[in-house]
Amino acid sequence: MLDFAQNTLDGIMVGASYALLGLGFTLTFGVMRRLNLSYGPTIMMGVYAGAYVSLNVYGSLLLALAIAVAVSVIVGLVIEGVCFRAVQSDNPLASMVSAFAMWMVLEEIIILLTWGRLFPVQNPSGLSTFDIGPISVRGDYFALFVAAVVLMVGIYWLLFHTAFGRKVRAVGENRKSAQLVGIDVNRVSREIFVLTSAFGGFVAFFIAASLHQITPGFGLWATVKGLIVMILGGIGSVPGAVLGGLLLGIIELQAVWYIGASYRDLIAFALLFLFLVVRPRGLLGQGERSS
């Protein structure tokens, strides 16, 4: 029972970061009606840049985070331009394949620059494990959790209490009508890429810090986690992404404890496949909407 509670707590803390990756996917999809598979590699570029600066130039967590966010945003805008704005095909899958092609490019750039070796990411210092009663809390997980919650509150506020959020939701509801009432859809698309890349880069840096390292496989990892969370929660649903992230985190950590670490990803993919077959609209999805 204690193990179960401990796993659940760890799962919630890890799951909060998954939730943000899922939010990145779901928000982009809501506005673009296209899937940005390059999301993981985009924020990976940010983490590498931040880690590089904090290792070689000036060791400061804040500076590293700022660099990570800035580089993620720049790469995100490039992806938006090349894979979404320029690909004017009515087939939504053209952008998807294009994003995949850019993913290859980004991953290869990283491999060329780092020789494919793993790259250390400094853990925010002074975060040691502390105990609450019989349960122990890992300091870096706790930092990850706090960062994720702060970001989620910020995103919620942006989406539901600002003019920008209203536009995003209007475009998500119906792209054509949004255009008719005078919303600059292209501009909203660009802004949503800036937003998702920025918080993606931020949370990715904390994830990498809790792992103490980053490898070129991080892009795939982040994309897959975000995709699973988005499907679990229901495409386009913001609360669904949060719920899906927590669920995935808890299930993964329970699976690691009770079945074995090598089954962690197997369970995650099985869950994704099962959800797609049994309940494609996810936990809180609106049902199939035509794109």
């Binding site: 394949v97 092609a101 290859m104 197997l266 496949f273």
Partner: protein, 313 residues
């Protein structure tokens, strides 16, 4: 031919199986990121049959294709109703699921004093069929080409058959297809089974070529590449994906200036082609125009010969 040339050609041919498999689904209107799953099933089933049970290579290929075809039909039946985006994600999930099954599979049998068999993430070593049967890499290339020719012959027949027309009609307009008595679901499942089997043939051949496979061979990048092959080569005819494979491996691999930058060059190429030619170099319109022109040329010839023979003077 040099050994290097033989291995590059073999690789081109083996990748072609996966590319054609993805293409077959594309012309039914389904984008699959997961045909590497069936490539992997073929590789593991086929090499288990030859290395562990001592079966013949031809039998292993047929059995691998059968198993993958049945699995693909099952997966298709479960996922085709999802459509578009959800289907693409489902294929990706399934392929990764299968890859992780290889990572967790551990089964060895003693063959001639060696322990042979899949060993989790370390892979499946000692698939010694070619060595044991004295098949040189040159001969093996011919075996690969023969199988590829069979698959290509299948595509040629398919594109001229009623079934091929039905499949393309399902892509264009499911409702219209259904209204003239073509069942979209049945045709899609049939296409999925055939696509799975084609990928598996390539997988069995690949495993025996490498003599050693590991789960990383069947990662998502293989599926993405095969999709990119069809996308850049063109979706109008089966020659499209073959051109795609040729461009990637043949051109970029043999032009050594690109070594190390291969992914960057290839990725940018794909991104650029998707911007300027969203349906690839050889799209349906181009194919139609070329075939019209060829037919016209042939027609003119026939007419002029007839004119000559008909001329009484």
């Amino acid at each position: 031919m040099t050994d290097y040339g033989i291995s590059v050609l073999s690789l081109i041919c083996m990748e072609s199986f996966v590319a054609l498999s993805t293409y077959l689904l594309l012309i039914t209107g389904q984008v699959s990121f997961g045909q590497q799953a069936y490539f992997g099933i073929g590789a593991y089933v086929g090499s288990s049959l030859t290395a562990l049970a001592g079966f013949d290579l031809t039998f292993a290929i047929l059995a691998g294709a059968l198993v993958a075809g049945v699995v693909a039909a099952g997966v298709g039946a479960l996922t085709f109703r999802l459509g578009g985006l959800y289907f693409a994600i489902a294929t990706l999930a399934f392929a990764e699921l299968i890859r992780l099954v290889w990572v967790n599979i551990n089964y060895q049998v003693e063959v001639d004093g060696f322990m042979v068999g899949p060993k989790g993430s370390e892979g499946f070593r000692d698939i010694r069929y070619l060595l044991d049967n004295d098949i040189s890499s040159n001969q093996y290339l011919w075996i690969i080409v023969l199988w590829l020719a069979l698959v290509i012959a299948f595509f040629i027949v398919l594109e001229r058959s009623r079934l091929g027309l039905a499949i393309r009609m399902v892509e264009n307009d499911e409702t219209a297809a259904a209204s003239v008595g073509i069942s979209p679901t049945r045709h899609k499942i049939m296409a999925a089974a055939m696509a799975g089997a084609i990928a598996a043939i390539g997988g069995v051949l690949f495993a025996h070529f490498m003599t050693f496979i590991d789960p990383r061979n069947f990662g998502v990048m293989l599926g993405v590449h095969s999709l990119a092959y069809a996308m850049i080569g063109g979706m109008g005819t089966f020659i499209g994906p073959l051109i795609g494979v040729g461009i990637d491996i043949g051109l970029l691999e043999s032009l050594r200036i690109f070594s190390g930058y291969r992914m960057i060059v290839f990725g940018s190429l794909v991104a650029a082609i998707l911007i300027f030619r969203p349906r690839g170099l050889l799209d349906e319109k181009t194919v139609h125009r070329i075939s019209m022109r060829v037919r016209q040329a042939l027609g003119n010839n026939r007419k002029s010969t007839r004119a000559v023979t008909d001329d009484p003077g």
